[in-house]
């Protein structure tokens, strides 16, 4: 098997919605917008691209790119710094908790499946509470361990986010099974654009700016009823 094909297979495995990292329990802010009646089936795709461009891209995708580079070079201080900065950039408790829960569970599943010293070392740092273990950084270490290039790793993780977001939209009746696929395909150019920007961004610029989404998330955190953890 060629290295490129092996990388592709690992990306497919990690982005599969059946990969057990708890993503199906997250709506990534969508349920908050839905409860506030601030999104409908027509505007849902635009909300997805806005979050990709202004939240996930500058924050999680950038952290993934930077942590991938650092993990590949064995620079664990830099990995920890990226992890801490990403954790600090998430303003709401539910977003921080979701990031660390999914990150730690991804790590626990990837360790036996993929293996390698880097994964073990990062898991030790997380267990010792020396680093938060955010999902994007855990994913970076997993992809780096599987020798997946940074560009593919970032694009794959953004795609996994988009799949999870549209899956939540489906359960909130903000789309249907066919429109969801059309939305995903239409999001591909945005994922390409956001990937490119994330690979070029520096640590000092890590972090999104989505005040409305943060407010929605804050309200969601205290809502009486909800299906999703975010």
């Amino acid at each position: 098997m060629t290295a490129a094909l092996d990388s592709l297979l690992l990306c497919l495995q990690l982005t599969d919605s059946a990969f057990p990292s708890g993503l199906y329990t997250l709506s990534h802010g969508l349920e908050g917008f839905h409860q506030a009646k601030a999104v409908d089936p027509d505007s849902m795709p635009a909300l997805l691209t806005d979050l990709l461009r202004h939240s996930v891209g500058p924050a999680d995708a950038t952290a993934l790119a930077l942590a991938h580079l650092a993990a590949g070079a064995g620079d664990w201080d830099a990995v920890v710094e990226v992890d801490q900065r990403l954790h600090a950039s998430k303003l709401n408790r539910e977003l921080r908790l979701a990031a660390t829960r999914t990150g730690r569970q991804m790590l626990e599943t990837a360790r036996p499946a993929i293996g390698g010293e880097a994964l073990e070392h990062y898991a030790e740092l997380v267990a010792a509470k020396r680093t938060p273990g955010c999902q994007a950084v855990a994913a970076a270490v997993v992809y780096a361990s599987g020798r997946v290039a940074a560009e593919q790793a970032v694009a794959s993780d953004l795609f996994a986010f988009a799949v999870s977001f549209t899956g939540a939209a489906l359960r909130l009746r903000l789309t249907d099974h066919r429109r969801a696929q059309a939305t995903l395909r239409a999001t591909a150019p945005v994922i390409r654009e956001v990937t490119e920007a994330a690979l070029a961004r520096e640590l000092a610029d890590l972090g999104g700016c989505v005040p409305v989404a943060d407010a929605m998330s804050g309200r969601h955190e205290r809502s009486e009823a909800r299906m999703f953890a975010t």
Binding site: P20, S21, G22, Y24, R101, E108, A225, M227
Partner: protein
């Protein structure tokens, strides 16, 4: 996994009495010297978690009852991808290392629900008489494969035209002899038997 902790699942249809069973069981376990905690998987609200905290106030620290959101997928949350429940359990044990029994209540679901063996050491499937005497005959992995089948609300069987003898005999037949317990969670009837069966798994699967 923490070896000294027994993890127990409670599954069953909506309204069969999973929460009531847990609320009746916790005092029995505490009487036996156990230190339990509860993780509920509500479908849409934190109602079950709040109910347990309220009904066990003074007996169980409210912080030892946590709710987990399941993204509308209760079966996924305890079977296909139990990661969020594993995370909630790990966080509880980190905060309260004295816990020796973790009770996981699934969201109400259909008869196919089973628990991942990674999440629990054993699980109960809870039916109730008001669902109809035919329920065990409908089978489904929850009814046939659970470690213990509970038939709850036996006190109202007479009012809902449910012949308990038929329901029990059918349950015994489809479960090929695995335990079936009849309970009334409001009076505590059958709860000692439930606790006894639960305890029989302690140390066996660790």
């Amino acid at each position: 996994m923490t070896d000294h902790v027994l993890r127990v699942g409670f599954a069953g249809p909506v309204g069969s009495g999973k929460t009531a069973l847990i609320e009746a069981l916790v005092p029995v376990l505490i009487d036996r010297g156990r230190r339990p905690a509860v993780i509920t998987n509500d479908i849409y609200t934190q109602e079950d978690a709040r109910h347990v905290r309220r009904n066990l106030a003074g007996l169980l620290d409210p912080a030892k009852v946590v709710g987990v959101e399941t993204g509308a997928c209760p079966h996924t949350a305890v079977r296909d991808d139990p990661t969020m429940n594993l995370a909630a359990g790990a966080e509880l044990l980190e905060r309260f290392p004295d816990i020796d029994t973790l009770l996981y209540e699934s969201g109400g679901d259909n008869l196919t629900l089973t628990f991942s063996p990674v999440l629990v050491d054993m699980f109960f499937f809870v039916l109730d008489t008001a669902e109809g005497e035919k329920m065990p005959r409908k089978r489904g992995p929850g009814i046939t494969d659970s470690d213990v089948l509970v038939i709850n609300k036996i006190d109202i069987a007479q009012y809902v035209r449910c012949d308990l003898d038929v329901m029990t005999a059918d349950a015994d037949r489809v479960r090929e002899g695995r335990p079936v317990v009849l309970t009334n969670s409001l009076t505590g009837e059958g709860l000692e038997k439930v606790a006894e069966l639960l305890e029989s798994y302690r140390g066996v699967t660790a």
